[in-house]
Symmetry: C2
Subunit: 433 residues, 2 copies
């Protein structure tokens, strides 16, 4: 027998150093969500394929979804994203719940991707959504939450920026200014979404296919020249009502000292997605990692899939891989916080084996993390082992300690020893040493 030791293509074997880091990210996500009183939920790994077909269309399913027929002849898919399951669950309970409904989740998702940096077939995604908030409030709160999360790692405006746009503004521009039809609108959304990922020639080619007049092209190009919110205001100076929502958001951010993170950007449209209002993406500012960490926006109509009335919603998804890459790029992961060293419990003589077990048990009963060395070890070797693992405190039990019903705790940094009896073990005993 000789099976492959490799993981399935595009998936990760998360060995302890990497999984510890991932758990640390998850813990921060949970803490931040709880700080804003978002409540956790989770849905099934498999869903009826119709759920994705209805929301995303055949194209996405054909290209990106893991689907198969189960033994009961049901056509199912492994969830490629969380929002459809979320919408299905909200459709069941939204009538009974006080608004706004604030939920979060950290599901594992699978997409058929060509594996590349930051894009894997399996990843986890931190999803936060708010339903039924007053106009503009959900958008603000989710941006606050995102910024709080990133700041909690020590990230600041030198590390990331949030680019925003508004689908209503884009709709107005396409329909009222460019006066193009629905098909062209869809094509232009897709074009804008991919603009910065394609070459100059590809741009020309794709734009030609959309068949805009010279006048339309000029208008469109002028619009794409808008660099920030001030220029946007200039552009729409006679139609201020279009900017009311985005202006309100910017003012709120200003008052909360968060405006430095957020800027208007006409290229943020979130592709063919289901967004209907504000859309946003978080970008890494590092020149070598200029990618979106996270995308989100406002959407109203997902409950219609379940024959329910529209319910306004805002949500975002933040991938664990892109977040990790961002934090690593900027050296914002504190390894000392991630790997908290245990107390190492050793014995030097076989006679003390059971006694050492009891000491270990007593420390654990007092919430002290312990690593127990299961065979006798010489003191110097125990110290070597501890140093290699960044462990500061070592319990030593030699013949003397055993005969005196004692044990020694060695502080390796201070090179000091203290002696205790089993019954003296208590919570936080190491703190004073």
């Amino acid at each position: 027998m000789n099976l492959s030791k490799k993981p399935y293509k595009g998936c990760r074997d998360l060995f302890p150093p990497e999984k510890l880091r991932q758990d640390y990210l998850f813990q921060r996500m949970r803490q931040t969500a709880q700080l804003f009183h978002y409540q956790p939920y989770d849905g099934p790994l498999l869903e009826d394929i119709e759920l994705y077909r209805a929301k995303s269309g055949e194209e996405l399913i054909g290209e990106q979804v893991y689907d198969f027929i189960d033994r009961g002849q049901r056509h199912v898919a492994i969830r490629p994203e969380m929002t459809p399951s979320l919408a299905r669950m909200i459709a069941q309970v939204h009538r009974e719940l006080p608004k706004p409904i604030r939920w979060y989740s950290i599901p594992n998702l699978m997409r058929y991707e060509r594996p590349q940096r930051g894009r894997l077939r399996e990843h986890w995604q931190f999803n936060c959504d708010i339903f039924g908030a007053p106009a503009g409030e959900g958008e603000l709160e989710l941006l606050q939450l995102l910024i709080h999360l990133l700041e909690s790692f020590g990230a600041g405006q030198e590390h990331f920026e949030i680019k925003i746009n508004d689908r209503r503004l884009m709709e107005n521009f396409f329909k009222q200014k460019l006066k193009i039809n629905n098909e062209q609108t869809g094509q232009l959304y897709r074009f804008v979404d991919r603009y910065q990922k394609i070459t100059h020639d590809q741009r020309e080619q794709q734009l030609a296919a959309i068949q805009l007049s010279e006048e339309q092209k000029d208008l469109f190009n002028a619009f794409l020249e808008i660099k920030n919110f001030t220029e946007l205001q200039l552009y729409f100076q006679n139609e201020n009502e279009l900017l009311v929502d985005i202006q309100q958001l910017m003012e709120n951010l200003q008052s909360l000292n968060l405006a430095q993170y957020v800027e208007y950007d006409p290229f943020i449209v979130r592709g063919l997605d289901y967004y209907t209002g504000l859309v946003f993406e978080v970008f890494d500012k590092h020149p070598e990692n200029r990618r979106a960490l996270c995308g989100g926006g406002a959407y109203d109509n997902l409950l219609a899939l379940f024959n329910e009335k529209p319910l306004n919603a805002v949500g975002f998804g933040l991938g664990d891989v892109t977040l990790k890459d961002f934090l690593l790029t900027h050296q914002l992961l504190d390894e000392k916080e991630i790997h908290k060293p245990p107390l190492l419990i050793t014995f030097q003589d076989q006679i003390a084996h059971l006694y050492a077990k009891k000491i270990c048990q007593a420390f654990r009963s007092n919430d002290q993390q312990c690593e127990f060395l299961m065979t006798p070890i010489k003191i110097n070797k125990a110290f070597d082992y501890a140093q290699k693992k960044n462990i500061h405190f070592v319990v030593l039990i030699g013949q003397d300690e055993f005969n005196n019903a004692q044990f020694q705790i060695r502080n390796l940094e201070k090179r000091e020893s203290s002696y205790f009896q089993l019954k003296e073990i208590k919570a936080n005993l190491l703190e004073g040493l």
Copy 2:
């Protein structure tokens, strides 16, 4: 459009109350594993089907595994259990790691099950494994860990028991005493494993199919009569060497005051699994929920699948559904610990809206969980809402507070108010109130 709102068969929609509870269980599992210095890992959701075929045989795959052909013509399966992925990962790194290797994981798994109480198609499982420990030490440590976890919920010997057996003992009994062949041995393992789930008639029928002589039947039935470790010692009184390992374990448990949880039981054989030494199951003692919460044991040969030398191992898997059912049955889930109420932040007048946001932001910056009410609310309604949600503290900001650049914190239990300014917000502010 009218999609179904139901989850896929045998899977759960985990709405916030249930997911909060699950997260609480996961958090306890992680804390306990860390207390014993087990390190987290995770593997891919999908694996090459050969991995399961090699370990479990065609039968399990045909009946219980979600498998399909991916777009690259790979035959893959959604992981039905974690041990094969674990073995694959350990096979990659075991040579370089100091022993023992202690790992844990809490993966989501999928099995084709007929959904019933405690058995769902999707569940999570707490897996702990130790590789390369000295003889008997891994078994002891994992039992300690399991007991610590259950005790941490307040469970005691009135709630659960751990039944143990030893596959080496069973092998010896089957081969040396019954003198049956390999095929019959396999059949008898399966028979014993299912004994307590089938009727008397089914037992007779199945036993007849195994074709034991009358003498073999008598011996076998006498063996199954063994009720505890003392009776086991009597049964094997002239062959004490067979009981050395299990005796050593019992003595260790005795010294650590854990023996009250553990008893010998000849019916614990862990079916057709890959175990080679000690096997154990944790049982609920409640008369209406007498089920195994958790099973595990010692295994040596899984690395052989990858052409690696044998490495001794012990592991267990504990399902989230069975654990939850156990804790609910005995009312061991402390809802107050699971649902920690936030600080409710309200404002009574629209003029204070932005000011209330700043107060909320300041509390969150000081790690205080806050729920923010996004529209003005009358004081009595705010109190009603807080009471319904078990919230103890409410921030109130009316016209007066706003004009004085203050806010009020109301302690609903004591019916007392305190007044603060924005700049006075600090960590643990509520503790003194």
